[in-house]
Amino acid sequence: MGLRWYHFALWAGFIILMYAMPDLVSKGTLRTFIFANFLAIFAISWDVLSGRTGYISFGHPFLIGIGAYTTAILTKRFDVAIEISIPIAVVVTMIGSTLFILPALRIRGSYFALVTLAFMELIYQLVQVIRPDLTGGTRGMSGIETLTRGAVNGYYMSLSLMLAVAISMWLLMRTRVGTALSAIGMNEDSVQGSGLSTTRLKLFAFLTGAFVAGLGGAFYVHYLGSIAPRALFDINFVFTIIVAALIGGSSTIIGPMVGAFFLTYLLEYLRPFLPGAERYFIYGGIALIIYIYQPKGIYAVVMQAWERLRSGKSA
């Protein structure tokens, strides 16, 4: 996998810093961090599914929602233990993601994105119409069992999950399977022409992305203790996930993680000055400047600086 000493050093430094955070910041800030951790999980999931393959998912809440609703319904309505309901929710999400492969066999690019968006709308309508006694209909569900109490515990839980997801996906994408998925995004026909089944590779990307999305969705609902369909199946939520992944740098795993923190904090720090929707202008403007300067996101900006530093040292 080509791991170097600085990979270990950077991860170790990051992990130590993050675990020390509750001693460094206020509880309120910690709650923002919790949201950033979950957003990072969703952005990483998006990156696994779409970042390399170029099969842009606009329907990520579809996957997250399956995970969240499955475990919520199992624990609240059927008294299933969380330890059992979360694995089931992840498996159900992965099964749900196989629906993505149907359009992916024939269409790509923006057409694929629109079909996945339709999946999200579909499940939004379904939870409202079908068995509202189970799903809670339009109002959603509350009083769902929570895993943790208080901001500090919630932070540790979300952080541990986010780090486990980030490191495992980062390692996975450094293997040849990551190269193969990137190749699909660059020229799918040539991947076929190299003797690789692209359908199987895409299915692998979708299932892995869904695994992460389902896991994130299930833990998120057991952190919040409630589920609100209108906030979950919302186009703004889709864009927040995608912008986090792109602003950080897609197909890098680290990028979407960084992007999620950047985005969350940008919006949070602008809140006192601009309480209304004007914040989104600033955030849009900053996103735009980063794209124009470096379309591959913050990750590439940092990498370039690092390369310059290294070549400067050796020169």
Partner: protein, 253 residues
Amino acid sequence: MGTIAIGEKRMSHPLEITNLVKRFGGLTATDDISFHVEQGQSVGLIGPNGAGKTTIFSLIMGELRQNSGTIRLYGEDIGGLSTPARIKRGVSRTYQVPRPFGEMSVVENIRVGLMPDSIWKMITQGPDREREIELALSVGFSENDLNRRPDELSMGDLRKLEMARTMATDPSVMLLDEVFAGLTKGEIAQIGELIQQMRRDGMTFLIVSHDLKALEPLIDSAIAINYGSKIAEGDYADVISDPDVRSSYLGVA
């Protein structure tokens, strides 16, 4: 496996096409074509633009599906298989327009060609760096080129990369589509020498080229097609002097 399979392999031709037909609407792009290529032979496929040469390649690789007829690889009917399944059985092609992975280096492009079609093996086994470099050097790249990206490469280099990625799939039959188009004289000589080397090593070739002068020394025999039909077959000299071939190329009888 075992002796029977080897025996069969020896008895049947590497590539055998029988009564192949492909229609696009009202146009018959491949019209009842039959031919075979013998073990270790190199056959040139010639004909004017639009004669249907590339269509035959696409049919052999499964990128297009025939309306009727059979395609056999070492005796096995591969006409219903997917492209990766055919490549696994030992046939591979290059493209007229090179199709590299744009944001990958030369070695990474070759890496994709070398990958086994198993996700488990892709994850658990690292890349074979020695083989990647060996392939890159064998098609004429220098050490300095290994980390170059396609947008830094000339047309000749892109064709070399195409060759290397095709060779990486470990074929026993190679289909080369217009390998000399857009190349300098030096590059033509280089790729020609590479093909000669592979012929000596026993590779079976089917080669499409408009550059007849470059093609002639690389082939044992030729097949000429026009409007999707075979119009001549045999020794290159005989094929090229055939009146039908001359009229299809030059418009004179």
